[in-house]
Symmetry: C2
Subunit: 215 residues, 2 copies
């Protein structure tokens, strides 16, 4: 059965998965980029960007795991782009250029209908307006037996957590204080009682922690 | 110069240093005791309680470090006891029995005057009503050149952090979700910009993380 997995979702020591005031210049909000610096050091990142170098090790391994066995993606609209409200005549096609790193179907949660966008390299963005369960059903069908990766942002992950639909939640705690932003582990209601720690390991940059449903 | 140090302060994955609804039966609030289970497994705890056994290792080492080079303690009133408001005719003498584990002067922050309480084993509780700077001055004098350990609770540590007076902050992140309580890294204002990570290491139970003032 397909599992819904969150990987390498970075949060600050004070719990923020994104800084405040997301804009086109700051897709992760003010200071939100600091949450991703550990990624840029890895061989995973070098390979993705075609740059030489990059470190192997725990951080690299976790990043690779997040792309292993995945057949479709789900993400919130804010992870797709900075447009809010109606799409209008926006020609926004995601943050990732012509050839996004997904190479499969990506289901974008939105309240506003939008035609699918086929990109180079096999990525197609589908826009889902009838809720998280529907998105999961469609992603499951598209994944063909593989798992589904749930991207961000914070609000999207919280929705799936509250619904008890997340099968594996890997966060990377970045040892910095942001002071403001969107907290991941917040407003989860009774979902907090449903998860337990399955893995805990620190690199020299971040703490990797996996939460899974209690058996 | 004496340094003000926080040690082994446990917070949950969702950031809570204590659960909600502190009472005499739940000094750390509902579910707050879960934050301390990692301590009970250590040789440090065995030695303190006179029980046999207990594990050595990272957790043990961090707990020992918290009692090394310390000449006085400061703590908030809620860490001292469950009494609120005026002391009245309360004969409360702390959570720790006749022989508390401090064996030195402990300065308790309160808005309500109380005579000092001398306990067995060298611990004396002094009650400080004129603020955190005064408590720090008196603790520094009592420490005779050694460092001062700052206990809890959350509100007390936040006060000293906001004032920029904490020289070393060691937290242990417990990989559990409490869902409610008092968040440590919250309402810190500009203090969040003043600290950086000095140490990051995981045991099989918790993550140890030390924050120190930026140089």
């Amino acid at each position: 059965m397909s599992r819904l997995r969150v990987h390498s979702f970075a949060i600050s020591l004070d719990g923020y998965g994104a800084g405040p005031d997301q804009t086109i210049d700051h897709p992760l909000g003010v200071r939100g980029e600091e949450l991703h610096e550990w990624i840029f050091e890895t061989r995973f990142w070098s390979e993705m960007t075609g740059e030489p170098g990059g470190k192997e090790g725990v951080d690299h391994d976790f990043l690779v795991a997040g792309f292993t066995g995945i057949g479709a993606w789900i993400m919130g609209r804010n992870m797709f782009g900075p447009v809010r409200g109606e799409w209008g005549d926006s020609d926004w096609r995601g943050w990732w250029g012509d050839n996004p790193p997904y190479h499969q179907s990506v289901f974008v949660l939105t309240h506003h209908p939008h035609d699918p966008i086929a990109m180079d390299g096999g990525t197609t963005f589908h826009f889902i307006t009838d809720g998280i369960e529907s998105a999961l059903e469609q992603a499951t069908a598209a994944a063909g037996g593989a798992d589904i990766r749930l991207g961000g942002g914070v609000a999207t992950i919280q929705e799936y957590l509250r619904a008890g639909l997340v099968d594996d939640l890997h966060v990377a705690i970045v040892p910095r204080l942001l002071g403001d932003g969107e907290r991941l582990f917040d407003r989860l209601g009774e979902a907090v009682d449903g998860y337990e720690c399955a893995e805990l390991v620190a690199s020299d940059a971040v703490v990797h922690l996996r939460m899974v449903p209690k058996r």
